[in-house]
């Protein structure tokens, strides 16, 4: 079972993932001979309090993506009324510790946009991805482990 581990930081468990255009979008770009945007490394907080994975808007814009839907979300600020978040299609690649081995690859995943850069991170890895994994939180050791 592919496994990775990482450090628990003041932000929480941090994980570096590679964000790409989704597989169907890459196929569409290839078909019309358009350049495929370079994958982007993103620093995400593993967040069991997030239903969905959320990526900073600047990364989604760098990938040239356009929204393919809207989804209602509740956050501490939304109070009783949910907000509509834009949904984008991406691919996510999670590497093992040595950044040579692909630990897990999701060719197509809907994510919502957010603004995280000012907080020092690029987004949240939510329960939509964690539902594919087993996670150990080693609080005393300051490390976590995820197996896919």
């Amino acid at each position: 079972m592919p496994h990775l581990s990482g450090q628990i930081t003041p932000w929480g468990p941090l994980i570096n993932v590679v964000v790409t255009a989704s597989a169907p979008r890459i196929a569409a770009l290839t078909k019309i001979n358009q350049a495929i945007p370079n994958p982007i490394v993103a620093k995400l907080v593993v967040d069991t309090g997030a239903s969905l994975t959320s990526i900073d808007t600047t990364i989604l814009m760098q990938l040239g993506l356009t929204s393919k839907g809207k989804t209602p979300i509740h956050t501490p600020s939304t109070q009783a009324q949910p907000h509509l978040a834009d949904q984008y299609d991406v691919g996510i690649i999670i590497y093992g510790l040595n950044m040579q081995t692909v630990c897990h690859s999701i060719p197509t995943l809907p994510v919502v946009d957010g603004a995280f850069k000012a907080k020092g991170i690029d987004g949240l890895l939510g329960r939509d991805i964690l539902m594919m994994a087993r996670m150990n939180y080693g609080g005393p050791d300051g490390w976590y482990g995820i197996s896919f």
Binding site: A27, D47, A50, G69, H74, T75
Partner: protein, 81 residues
């Protein structure tokens, strides 16, 4: 001219009563027109890109009760319903 995504969302809401037989599946809308129902998000997205290329289109999971995602921290989205 209305935002293409808003136009497609309005079309989805109008058609929802007839789409509920396919609850859980994914509907594709393009230029305000329903283009089909697909078993998975990837299948609907694939069909959308084949049909519309890089033009805007909507992929929406058909749900009788709208799913609301929860975040225990703010993600700074500023688009109220």
């Amino acid at each position: 001219m209305p935002d293409p995504l808003e136009r497609d969302l309005a079309a989805y809401k109008n058609l929802l009563p007839t789409l509920t037989v396919s609850a859980g599946k994914f509907a594709l809308f393009y230029k305000g027109e329903h283009q089909g129902v697909f078993d998975s998000y990837t299948d609907a997205l694939d069909a959308g890109y084949k049909l519309a290329g890089l033009e805007p289109f909507l992929v929406k999971q058909i749900l009788t009760t709208e799913y609301v995602a929860y975040f225990t921290r703010d993600i700074d989205v500023v688009c109220p319903i």
